[in-house]
Amino acid sequence: MTKKFNEKAWNEYDLGYMVSDAGCAAEYRTGDWRSQRPQTNKDKCIKCGVCYLVCPEGAIVLAADGTYDFDLEHCKGCGICEVECWTGCISMTEEGE
């Protein structure tokens, strides 16, 4: 089994710590950088997919019913989805509230 990025010894990384695989940030848990968390009122969601397209982290995932969920392991809480959502169904709330 290949080692995860945070399990490798110093000499097991690519030379110069270059990154040769696209999308490798998926391995990193970046969700705990977040101070605000996105929430959806799914009654207002029109399944347009704008939030999915604008998320810079790919942290919005398609749900079985055609609406969208958040991958909170990776969502950094930037709030772009809230601003871009056409119907205003996404709202950011403080973490810990």
Binding site: A9, Y13, G16, S20
Partner: protein
């Protein structure tokens, strides 16, 4: 074997860079490095060297461009001095982290202030911990030879680290010396084409210089240090191969009439040649038991070889050409004390600082250093350093 030419040391270095057939030069002129890059720009303009000569607006840009050209797979060269090196500082750390074998000549000059264009080693000492290999030349021929060897050392796939060749400003860079040049054919046999392993290539896209989060940063730093330490063996291999091919032999720690000597002087750079004269005088006229150790490889610090070279001596008098303000002695002396600390019967280490900002170190100065060091050793004097010739 090539022809013997009387030429300014700076120009000889440019000719070595030309013989190394570099692909890219990015540099900004600064005293006393100027003649090297000036001559390289002429060689490129006249079509004698097929390379991109990239003029830039600062040394920060020069080193940034070097990172780019080296990452593109180009054999890359630059040169600087003093404030120029200081301005490069931010990028200096990044080059070894990316494993880019940039070769740089540092024509050593003191750092401001006060403003000084003259020679000492404060510039290289200020970038000691950037992760570069650092080698010192004592004369023109060594500057020429070490420049050629540097490409082979840096580009070795076990190394892939940047390297600086250090030579003293003016006292070396601006003097005319006889140099034995090498033919292009000989150089080509010695120095193969650079085959990059880290490369920006559209056919195989990679990201270089990415963020190193806390889970990775420690490992990345360990990697640079281990690679730098391991490069000492490659330096020795390349020295040996050069010696075999061209008959000029180099060691990471050189010595001169040091065998059996009770007191050893230790120097780096061109003052070593004056120190040899002083040793000859003390040995031949005064029958004193003295010798000289010259540190050629500054980084990685050749701990084992140093211990061998100084073994048996009672006193080791080290001349530093830089101050480590608020520190434990001259920068070289501090390292040597540390390297000898747990060694049984290690010599007493006396730290002297001399030759700052272009002040000459004379034969009499060296003799005085030996006198003082022997007295200090006798009483096991605890000291930080003594400054030679300072008015008090």
């Amino acid at each position: 074997m090539g022809k013997r030419v009387g030429i300014e040391v700076s120009l000889a270095i440019s000719e070595a860079v030309k013989l190394a057939n570099v692909d890219a030069v990015a540099a900004y002129p600064i005293t006393p490095q100027t003649h090297i890059v000036e001559h390289l720009s002429e060689l490129v303009a006249e079509g004698e060297l097929d390379a991109a000569f990239i003029p830039v607006e600062s040394e920060h840009s020069a080193m940034s461009v070097c990172a780019g050209t080296s990452a593109a797979g180009a054999r890359t060269y630059t040169a600087t001095s003093s404030q120029g090196l200081a301005l490069m500082n931010e990028i200096l750390f990044i080059i070894p982290a990316l494993r880019l074998p940039v070769v740089m000549t540092i024509v050593n000059r003191s750092l401001s202030g006060p403003i000084s264009i003259w020679n000492d080693h404060s510039d290289i000492m200020s970038v000691r911990d950037t992760g570069w290999i650092a080698i010192f030349a004592e004369n023109g021929q060594e500057s020429f030879d070490l420049t050629l060897m540097s490409f082979k050392i840096a580009e070795d796939h076990r190394v892939l680290l940047p390297i600086s060749v250090n030579l003293d400003g003016f006292t070396l860079s601006h003097v005319i010396e006889p140099h034995e040049f090498l033919d292009q054919e000989e150089v080509d046999k010695f120095l193969p084409d650079y085959e990059p392993l880290v490369q920006l290539n559209p056919d195989k896209p990679v990201s270089l210089g990415t963020v190193g989060i806390p889970e990775i940063y420690t490992e990345a730093k360990k990697c640079i240090d281990e690679t730098l330490i391991a490069s000492e063996e490659v330096v020795k291999e390349v020295f040996a191969e050069f010696g075999e091919m061209f008959g000029r032999h180099y060691k990471v720690v050189e010595s001169y009439r040091a065998e059996g000597a009770e007191t050893l002087l230790m120097t780096m750079g061109s003052v070593s040649e004056t120190a040899m004269e002083a040793i000859d005088k003390m040995r031949d006229q005064d029958n004193r038991s003295v010798g000289l150790v010259r540190l050629r490889l500054w980084r990685p610090f050749p701990v084992k070889d140093l211990r061998v070279e100084v073994a048996g001596a009672k006193t080791l008098a080290i001349i530093d050409r830089a101050v480590s303000p608020g520190g434990t002695g001259g920068p070289v002396a501090g390292e040597v004390r540390s390297a000898l600390y747990s060694v049984e019967d290690a010599p007493y280490v006396a730290s002297f600082i001399a030759g700052l900002g272009g002040r000459d170190i004379t034969i009499d100065d060296f003799i005085s250093v030996v006198d003082q060091a022997e007295k200090m050793a006798e009483s096991n004097e605890i000291h930080q350093y003594k400054m030679i010739g300072v008015r008090e």
